[in-house]
Chain length 348, copies 2
Amino acid sequence: MRAARSHPPESDLRVVSHEPLNAETVLSSQVGILTPIQRFFIRNHFALPSKWSGLRVDGLVGRPLSLTMSDLKALPSRSVAVTLECAGNGRSTLEPAVPGEQWDLGAVSTAEWTGVPLPLVLQQADIASGGVEVLFEGADDGRPPGLSDLIHFARSLPIDKALHGDTLLAYAMNGKPLPPEHGGPVRLVVPGWYGMASVKWLTHVAILSDPFKGYYQADRYVIHHDDTVRPLQAIEVRAVIVSPRAHDVLPRRRHRIRGYCWSGHAPVDRVDVTDDGGTTWYQARLLDAVSVYAWRPWELEWHPRSAGRTVLHARATDAAGHEQPLRQRWNSLGYANTAAQPLPVTVV
Amino acid sequence: MRAARSHPPESDLRVVSHEPLNAETVLSSQVGILTPIQRFFIRNHFALPSKWSGLRVDGLVGRPLSLTMSDLKALPSRSVAVTLECAGNGRSTLEPAVPGEQWDLGAVSTAEWTGVPLPLVLQQADIASGGVEVLFEGADDGRPPGLSDLIHFARSLPIDKALHGDTLLAYAMNGKPLPPEHGGPVRLVVPGWYGMASVKWLTHVAILSDPFKGYYQADRYVIHHDDTVRPLQAIEVRAVIVSPRAHDVLPRRRHRIRGYCWSGHAPVDRVDVTDDGGTTWYQARLLDAVSVYAWRPWELEWHPRSAGRTVLHARATDAAGHEQPLRQRWNSLGYANTAAQPLPVTVV
């Protein structure tokens, strides 16, 4: 694997941290459904690993496997357009501020992923009875802030999610070999779940008889609320506006407001926009969906009613009845902050 | 517009001619549905035009238009995954040989195109009664072999096809601004029709009261058969094998044969493969379709019955009952030669 560029051009990505590299997409550049690779957001927990030497599959299995890239490519493949979003997307707007990468709204992008449906590999390995979770370990390792152990990034999935035909061992992205900064040569892609589930640089898959309690499973990527701790799974419903951009100066005539919407729970079936803080809502038109897992573009013809500073908000609702909140739901680690964000423009 | 690379890397594209640049995709590199831009086949009739200064819409219209790129981007947009194929794809295998670009089978690729549905622009222009066709002219010009006039590339569409909501004025390809070698800044995309209809570097759209009889409409892109002349329109049904590759040496064990299939008439609902010249046929498994206009991957588990030289053929059938021919249908200009091609391998 080659080393990633540590300074992508600012026009393609906005760097959030350099070591490790974390960078968000510039949503105002997004057109169509797919995000070109060089504009796809990058989320790393550690430095890029320097090598990948195959994929082991073991644990509670009848037949442990050791798979090379050629082995994977010889299996049936599948291509799915999937939106990945970092659970920390929108964290930077929380008040009071919380630690962690200070993502604005660009820790989300969409690609066509090609790979082997995970169940095909698990069936080959012959899962024994008693398995409750499947563990996924990456080649990347490091020492998270405040932890003394050197650990590999690792996550688990419930066994039924691992056996879903859309959960992929992906080796290609938008038709190209999966680049190292996106987890190449092979990563997990878990459609509909926040990005932490889609383990990059995958080296080890194991069937577990007990739930996994690793740092990135139990101490991070969980939402603390009162005395409860809830693990992050499905992506919460959200709409973003990509045009106009914040602080644009717009003549007082008709404008087309454009954006994207998505939810990991169910298809989004409604996006509304307000230009007066929530008193008046205008329903946007949703464009065609290409996949149940990919964001969907929306548009609205908008005629400003008066000149001056105007604040736009967009709010999505999905078919399962989840509605995007208008106010933040603060949590100490800053996850799933899907509150509709103000987009100020000036009408002249 | 910048000049195109005249020598793309051989690994990305196989150059068929340098002036003008024509190059085909290397099908064995194709994974997933979309073809990356640098591997997308290039079909030019003339040198790349050096400038584009907007799009005129006139002819039988109530309101002639002059549109800039900003005007186009302010209109509602649409993104569709569409396979484009050159009508001359497969010409090189015809016997006896015919003149024209000697395409093997790689004059076909798939992209996500984003642009304005053409009917929105035509409605703005207010089509008058009496219009029968819509003319499309490109900025590219030259003198075709044997013709004395310097002409612009130009094609027409029947008015109902032009008014179809999937016919696009495309300004983006796989999420990027449309590159000049693919007709940027704006081209027509006519899903389901051979590529000549998708006029590149589009500068002029006109509503016509009589059928257009230009060189590329009436003298080229037609099939002469006995005394009849049939214009090329919908893409004929075809399957290609992308793995194994011709002349591969394969151990005698199970192999996965992979390929793509498409038809401009109707979805492909069947692909069969023979390893004995048509006596025995094996039905392949079709993978998910992402769009009615995009090719569809297929796969077949194949166990060679004997060692030695073996010839594979794949044949597609679409839902409208069109079956790919096993023998060539020779025509003097070499169009739509969809005959199933032999793929020789050696089993050891």
